[in-house]
């Protein structure tokens, strides 16, 4: 076996999880919850990266980190209970244990776009992988231009991070628009999809970077709207979701054309994925 076959940073057993204590459980909405984990050794992560979380005896799923990348001693994940593993994770309480592998993948390019206006567009649970970007921007507020966040959810009850939404709404120089598809009588915000709200944000398209996370149909619609507004496709970033079993480029499940979503993504620049997104069932 040639020496050149050696990889750079591979741990001795990249598929073995480290059992990690849960320090806090937060109910965000009926089917969404947040787990704080206290890893034995804080591993730096970048906004947009993900971990593989294992529920004992049930299975393992990829979950984006939703916490502050500058406080990696607390690993925060916000999860929607949609399958057996996420439901099992949702039954954990503080003191429980979660198997942890990661962090994996390529995150949002926050460092590369200092000085730019930043537009974040989130749909549903898609706000979770973007929250580390918001934390980053707020910590480095002076390094960026205008900041605008669009967040869409199905209904007011589905909104997550509600107290933070209120705090961000009161933050100076921070534009936040929240839209729901189905509003009740108490709702005073926007109704409908987030895409039309883009025109309500103040930003310079020629000098802006956009980051989108949400259902693929929303990604396509908002990316198109951003391009129409004049944002270059190379400065639009999208986070992709695919089936993943390993997160290390070996299981093959997350392939998207030439890309492995686990290691080439999950964040991709739109110019690299636009053509692929155009095909059904790719």
């Amino acid at each position: 076996m040639p020496q050149t076959l050696k990889a750079c940073t591979s741990p001795p057993d990249p598929m073995a999880p480290r059992m990690t204590p849960v320090t806090r459980f937060i109910r965000e909405s009926e089917d969404v919850f947040t787990l704080d984990l206290a890893p034995e050794r804080a591993t730096p992560f970048a906004p947009g990266q993900f971990n593989m979380l294992y529920a004992f005896g049930v299975g393992e799923i990829p979950i984006s980190i939703s916490g502050d990348s500058q406080a990696p001693e607390r690993l925060t994940h916000t999860i929607r209970a949609v399958g057996p593993v996420s439901a099992a994770l949702g039954r954990l309480k503080a003191g429980g244990r979660v198997g942890l592998r990661g962090p994996f993948g390529v995150g949002w390019p926050v460092d590369a776009y200092k000085g730019f206006d930043v537009v974040l567009i989130a749909g549903g649970i898609g706000l979770a992988p973007l929250r580390p970007v918001i934390y980053w921007l707020l910590r480095h507020r002076a390094a960026y231009g205008r900041i605008g966040v669009l967040y869409g959810a199905r209904a007011p009850d589905d909104l997550i991070f509600r107290s933070e939404l209120e705090a961000w709404r009161r933050t100076p120089d921070f534009q936040l628009r929240v839209a729901v598809e189905r509003a009740g009588p108490d709702w005073t915000g926007d109704v409908g999809y987030v895409t039309p709200l883009l025109s309500k944000l103040r930003f310079d398209p020629r000098d802006a970077v956009a980051m989108i996370c949400g259902p693929e149909v929303m990604i396509r619609a908002t990316a198109l709207a951003l391009e129409d507004a004049g944002v270059a496709d190379s400065r639009i970033f999208v986070s992709m979701e695919r089936n993943m079993k390993c997160a290390i480029g070996h299981c093959g499940h997350c392939q998207f054309g030439p890309l492995f979503v686990c290691k080439d993504g999950p964040v991709h620049s739109y110019d690299r994925v636009r053509n692929l997104l155009a095909y059904r069932e790719l």
Partner: protein, 412 residues
């Protein structure tokens, strides 16, 4: 993965460099150097038995082709009497039959349904075991194997296939420790093919029929002229040490020329061919070609092609636990892009239609593999053609998308 890598913006990513060139030095310098020596030896059938014994004496567990269930499959071999002496095969789309040969050739057939990946990249493997102690859970990873495997009768296309799996499982960001442990210790005794099967197209993929690298010892079986001998090329220290232990003599020029002629004859009699220099562009610019719909009417999405393919590496994981909920295991098993589960995310499968799943397999194998790993994922072994229950022929599918018939295609 460290954060340093992740902090690179997605717009800054470049394709990672190819760690090694599969064509030039996929085997390591020491093996290449030996080839330069060019020392060719000749051994008899008895000499081959002595070679097998020497391999076993050095602590290797030897595997080779055997006759089982009316097919030639890889299994443990104790002596060369376990090899399918005097047998050959007849292959076509969806068809495999064994036939008697007129001679006593030990390697007078093409590749069977199995490839060596069943040893290096096990179909089913326990990755770790977890045990609960109150709130605490301990995880014990499966130890890497220490077995020394010797593969006897590895064809050139299969060596290429192993190198392709090396790139995916050891030569990328992360290393599969189980694969690596077996691969590093494996001894490869190659056999240059004396005949091409009807579904073979290794020459089109520049993967055979002659093993040019990646082996410890290469054999060419010579049956012409009434004599049954093997031309032997030792290409590693281990290979040379083994050769030194067994009765052999220097090969004559006539034997060397005969071996070359055998290989040339094989190369020129491939049962299939496929133009392969432009497949990435061809397939990726034809993702909506009507042929995908057409092939989907025949494809059973049975996954046979992916199971027999020597380079397909996809796996899934399964969790099992005991009834008390005290102990759990994670198992890895081969998976296939032809299953619905493969692409399932909450809400449904990304690739629900047969069309999309066949397209994923073929475009990955022939096109996007090149973007990902710097080479095609196809070695032209023909297994996917032979073992497709409905005889779908990857070379024919490429021709259909190219829009030409067999006669119009450029050779190789």
């Amino acid at each position: 993965m460290g954060a340093g890598k992740a902090l690179i913006g997605a717009d800054k990513i470049q394709r990672r460099p190819i760690y090694f060139d599969l064509h030039d030095k996929g085997v390591g310098q020491e093996r290449m150097a030996a080839q330069v020596d060019g020392a060719m030896a000749t051994v008899t059938v008895e000499g081959l038995q002595a070679l097998l014994q020497a391999i076993q004496a050095r602590g290797y567990r030897a595997f080779g082709p055997t006759l089982q269930n009316q097919a030639i499959v890889y299994d443990d071999i104790d002596s060369i009497d376990d090899l399918p002496r005097g047998w050959t095969d007849e292959q076509d789309g969806g068809r495999y039959r064994l036939l008697r040969r007129a001679d006593e050739a030990l390697f007078g057939y093409s590749v069977g349904p199995q490839s060596w990946k069943k040893y290096l990249h096990a179909p089913k493997l326990r990755l770790w075991t977890a045990e609960r102690h109150g709130e605490d859970v301990s995880v014990a990873p499966e130890a890497s194997p220490s077995d020394r495997l010797a593969f006897i009768g590895v064809r050139a296309c299969e060596i290429r296939a192993i190198e392709i799996q090396d790139r995916a499982l050891v030569g990328d960001l992360y290393v599969d420790p189980h694969y690596k442990a077996l691969r590093e210790r494996a001894l490869i005794v190659a056999v240059n093919c004396g005949q091409a099967g009807n579904t073979c197209f290794c020459a089109s993929m520049h993967a055979g029929p002659q093993a040019k690298q990646g082996f410890d010892i290469a054999l060419t079986e010579l049956l012409d002229g009434g004599e049954h001998v093997f031309l032997v090329e030792a290409a590693s220290d281990e290979g040379r040490a083994l050769l030194a232990q067994i009765p052999h003599r220097a090969a004559s020029n006539r034997e060397i020329e005969t071996a070359e002629a055998v290989i040339e004859r094989t190369a020129s009699s491939m049962g299939r061919k496929m133009r392969s220099d432009d497949l990435n562009e061809l397939l990726m610019s034809n993702l909506e070609h009507p042929r995908w719909d057409e092939v989907a009417t025949r494809c059973l999405t049975c996954a046979n092609c992916t199971m027999v393919c020597p380079t397909c590496f996809c796996t899934s994981v399964e969790d099992v636990s005991d009834l008390a909920g005290e102990r759990a295991e994670r198992w890895r098993r081969w998976d296939s892009c032809f299953t619905m589960d493969f692409s399932y995310i909450h809400g449904g499968s990304v690739r629900a239609s047969a069309k999309s799943r066949y397209r994923q397999w073929m475009t990955h194998k022939l096109a996007t593999w090149i973007d990902q790993f710097g080479s095609s994922g196809c070695v032209g072994c023909g297994r996917c053609i032979t073992w497709c229950p409905v005889g779908i022929d990857i070379t024919e599918e490429v021709r259909a998308i190219r829009g030409c018939d067999a006669s119009a295609e450029e050779p190789r």
